[in-house]
């Protein structure tokens, strides 16, 4: 990434070169300064935001929040509403950590959903519909991946083109009509609860759990972080960067296919205009969850919290009977604040530490 030197010169007087930041030190420092603990701090912050939203809700509608059954049910509503977008965000987090971006997720959900609900597909039953949605998602994701990895297109452009084209194809297939799902199994997914927890929320938690394991415990995850952190270094270490990039977009497509089934079940129908602007919500959720837009860093748990925070805000505005316009403004503000916090962290923490004599000798220069 080329940073113009003008910027460098402007930044430097405030503090110091980034590599000199004590916050970048490894073990032996307290958790609130240690760079490695940054995700934990952020997640605690997001939990704090959720608690704050809860408190605001309780303040506005004490009548509702005094009822424990209602509160538990409301939490389930929040999780259900977060489910489809959350699944997409898990895929998006992988793509962004791997140094890319996927603008086509909303369009791919629409395409997968429409393809899975054509009369021809529905004749194969629920399994056929699920298979179709997932296959279409993966297939379109592979096209994205091929354009980025082998066509050398910038991810923004490649997936923007896919966004436009997939919406077009979805409109073509559906004839711009809303396609009703007649499959009882598919339609029941959104209504099903297991041990009182909505099945959609369980699907989200399972996908997020698998995503967490994939990112943190497998060679696939290690490759993702390496490629996003420094693609050239990964290539010269013998990692198949192009092949892996393909897989990342396919993974995002897979998540879109799953989300398409979830949304189809919720609406008992599909249409070409479904999941409008999901790409922006997913990117925003990943970013407030601490995923670096330049790649190489991010967490699944953070993204999950990001999605739930957004969902909780929507829920709160509905409860308080406030207009969605204000809600969108608040969401915009939250994105800005989250990113500002990320930037301010280093200088403010180190200045605070210096003032209070909390830093020790620099270990290695």
């Amino acid at each position: 990434m080329s940073v113009s030197s003008e910027q460098k010169v402007e930044q430097a007087p405030e503090g110091h070169a980034p590599h000199a930041a004590p916050a970048a030190r490894g073990g032996g420092t307290s958790w609130w300064k240690d760079e490695a603990q940054e995700p934990l701090r952020r997640n605690l912050g997001l939990v704090g935001v959720l608690l704050a939203l809860f408190a605001i809700g309780a303040f506005i509608r004490p009548d509702l929040y005094s009822n424990a059954d209602w509160v538990i049910n409301n939490i389930m509503v929040i999780l259900t509403q977060a489910a489809a977008i959350g699944v997409v965000t898990v895929g998006m987090t992988f793509v962004i950590i791997g140094g890319g971006i996927d603008l086509s997720v909303g369009a791919l959900i629409a395409l997968s959903g429409v393809w899975a609900t054509t009369l021809a597909t529905q004749s194969f039953g629920a399994a056929g519909m699920i298979f179709t949605a997932i296959a279409v998602g993966i297939g379109a994701g592979l096209v994205n991946g091929a354009l980025v990895a082998y066509g050398r297109l910038v991810p923004f452009i490649a997936t923007l083109a896919m966004l436009v084209a997939a919406r077009g194809l979805a409109a073509q297939i559906s004839g711009k009509q809303t396609q009703i799902s007649n499959d009882m199994f598919i339609n029941s997914i959104a209504k099903e609860r297991i041990l009182g927890i909505p099945l959609l929320a369980i699907i989200l938690l399972v996908v997020a759990g698998l995503g967490w394991v994939l990112l943190n415990r497998t060679t696939f995850g290690r490759r993702t972080v390496a490629i996003g952190g420094n693609a050239e270094a990964a290539r010269l270490a013998g990692i198949n960067v192009r092949g892996h990039t393909m897989l990342l977009y396919a993974l995002s497509g897979l998540c879109c296919g799953i989300a398409a089934i979830m949304l189809t079940s919720l609406a008992t129908s599909s249409q070409a205009a479904a999941a409008e602007l999901y790409e922006l919500d997913a990117i925003a959720a990943a970013i407030i969850g601490g995923t670096l837009l330049s790649g190489g860093r991010g967490t699944i748990v953070g993204s999950l919290f990001g999605v739930i925070v957004f969902s909780a805000i929507t829920n709160l505005f509905a409860i308080a009977n406030l207009p969605t316009e204000v809600q969108n403004m608040v969401k915009g503000a939250i994105i800005v604040v989250a990113v500002l916090l990320q930037q301010v962290r280093f200088s403010s923490v180190t200045q605070f530490a210096r003032r209070h004599g909390l830093t020790r000798a620099k270990p290695q220069t």
Binding site: G27, A233, Q364
Partner: protein
């Protein structure tokens, strides 16, 4: 001010333009400058010497107005000053040419020269005037041939440096600070740089010159100030006559410069690598070379001689257009890094930070970047085992710090290079390609790296290394290949070649060789 430099009488005739006394600058957890003295006279080339981390960069930034000192005096043209920022220092006549040149790639030469102070009226930029003036400044620097309307992006590194200097002149700078200007230049271009510096000083401009290369300081410098651990350990030494031993000992507290480990008496083992007729159009052609087990083969050549490109092609990072690369008797597919790695090749590339390291990641993850999947079970990584293995190699390489969970960003250049070498050790590499292994590595850590490389060879690893520094190629290698303009012009045991021989070979036939020798004479 205390000693009269014998070989630099001219320098002392100039008046003092800059005087620093007892300058202190601290950052959280480190005293970067801890009482620095500096005196620069008009028309002199004042050299700053010091190891990495000695405080040179911080000192430059204090002079450039980027950092404000915590305490101490900065006197500029006889007045005490405290620059509010880089613009203020620039206005006062102090220009800084950083190592990473601060030019805007997609602006023209003229636009870069006058960036921020374009000749204008009523808010409109006089493009023609800017171009004319820029041409004039470039002419003053002896480079009137650089067209002012060219995009800076299309210029070579040396050309960009000239543009930076033209920018300094456009601000009527009285002091130009150059941070390792020769690092990006080939040998013949350094001669040209020196000619420009001499012309600048003849006009009364003072130059503060930072370099790791002692021979350059001898050639261009008038006086030397040595920094060590944020303090000045010597001020105003005569650049030409101070013995190397003294300079090095003041930088390091040691009195050695390069120490190369002794060559073993044993004969090299079986042939590992066989390259025949390798070529890429416009880069190099018809290269034959062999590397045996336990042997260190060095490639000497100028930047642009095709040496780095050759190394990358052997490794598969560039696709060969002609010829074959054979490892252990088996041909490697061209342009396939993964296959080369599987066959036992490893490379430490020239740009460590951008080509080799994940700076924000822990040491152990950087070390296991090539082979983390070999510790994995069914795709699940085993970080415990990775850390243990990384720790073992860290001990072997005497990596500091030992804590392999620390981010690589916090390590010094020498230790970062050890991480890259350690990566290939862990990967079981039997043929290591090293491109500029000691670039940005300070003198003390160099000796350690040399020992590491020699130890690798003693354990049967074959090493193919490229370096801009001829003494390094000669001192470290068993056999030396000299490259010129994409061809191997000489292959000989290192002991049969002298530094002068190699320099003759790499420069013979190049158009600028004559001027370089003139300057050196």
């Amino acid at each position: 001010m205390n000693e009269q430099p014998a070989g630099a009488a001219a320098a002392n005739t100039g008046e003092v333009v800059l005087r620093l006394s007892d300058v202190v600058k601290t950052f959280p957890g480190v005293r970067a400058l801890d009482g620095v003295e500096l005196e620069v006279r008009a028309g002199e080339v004042h050299c700053l010497l010091g190891q990495n981390g000695a405080g040179k960069s911080t000192l430059i930034k204090v002079l450039a107005g980027v950092h404000r000192p915590d305490s101490g005096d900065v006197q500029w043209l006889g007045e005490q000053v405290a620059f509010s920022g880089p613009q203020a220092a620039m206005k006062a006549g102090i220009a800084t040419i950083y190592q990473e040149l601060d030019l805007v790639d997609y602006l023209t030469v003229a636009e870069n020269v006058y960036l921020g102070h374009e000749p204008r009226s009523l808010g409109f930029v006089h493009k023609g005037q800017a171009a004319r003036q820029a041409r004039e400044l470039l002419g003053r620097l002896g480079h009137g041939e650089i067209p002012p309307h060219r995009l800076v992006k299309s210029l070579p590194a040396a050309g960009k440096q000239i543009v930076s200097m033209a920018r300094a002149l456009s601000h009527s700078a009285k002091l130009i600070i150059m941070d390792e200007p020769s690092a990006v230049l080939a040998h013949d271009e350094v001669g040209n740089l020196f000619r420009i510096i001499r012309e600048l000083t003849a006009q009364g401009i003072a130059v503060v010159y930072i370099s790791h290369r002692l021979e350059e300081i001898r050639e261009i410098g008038d006086r030397v100030t040595v920094l060590k651990d944020g303090r000045t350990s010597a001020v105003n030494l005569p650049a030409r006559t101070t013995p190397t031993r003294d300079l090095v000992s003041r930088m390091t507290g040691r009195s050695i410069e390069y120490v190369f480990p002794p060559r073993p008496d044993t004969e090299p083992g079986e042939k590992l690598l066989e390259v025949r007729g390798l070529g890429r159009s416009g880069e190099f052609a018809g290269v034959d070379l062999d590397v045996h087990s336990g042997e260190i083969v060095g490639i000497a050549g100028l930047v642009g001689s095709g040496r780095s490109e050759l190394l990358e092609t052997v490794f598969g990072a560039r696709q060969a257009e002609a010829g074959t690369v054979v490892m252990d008797g088996r041909g490697l597919p061209p342009g396939n890094v993964a296959a080369a790695v599987r066959a036992g090749l490893g490379m430490a590339p020239e740009e460590r930070k951008s080509q080799a390291l994940l700076l924000g990641q822990p040491i152990y993850r950087n070390m296991t970047l090539t082979n983390f999947s070999t510790y994995a079970t069914a795709g699940f990584t085993d970080t415990g085992k990775e850390q243990a293995e990384a720790m073992r190699v860290a001990d072997q390489l005497e990596l500091r710090p030992r804590d392999v969970r620390r981010a690589v960003r916090t390590l010094s250049g020498g230790n970062q290079q050890k991480v890259v070498v350690g990566r290939w050790l862990l990967g079981g590499t039997r043929l290591l390609l090293l491109d500029e292994p000691t670039r940005g590595v300070d003198v003390g850590a160099r000796a350690e790296l040399y020992q590491v490389i020699r130890d690798l060879a003693a354990n049967g690893v074959g090493v193919l290394l490229v370096s801009s520094e001829v003494p390094e190629v000669l001192g470290l290698s068993d056999r030396v290949l000299v490259m010129r303009e994409g061809r191997v012009v000489r292959t000989a045991p290192a002991t049969e070649l002298s530094e002068e021989d190699v320099l003759d070979l790499v420069m013979a036939g190049s158009l600028t060789a004559a001027t370089t020798e003139e300057v050196a004479a």
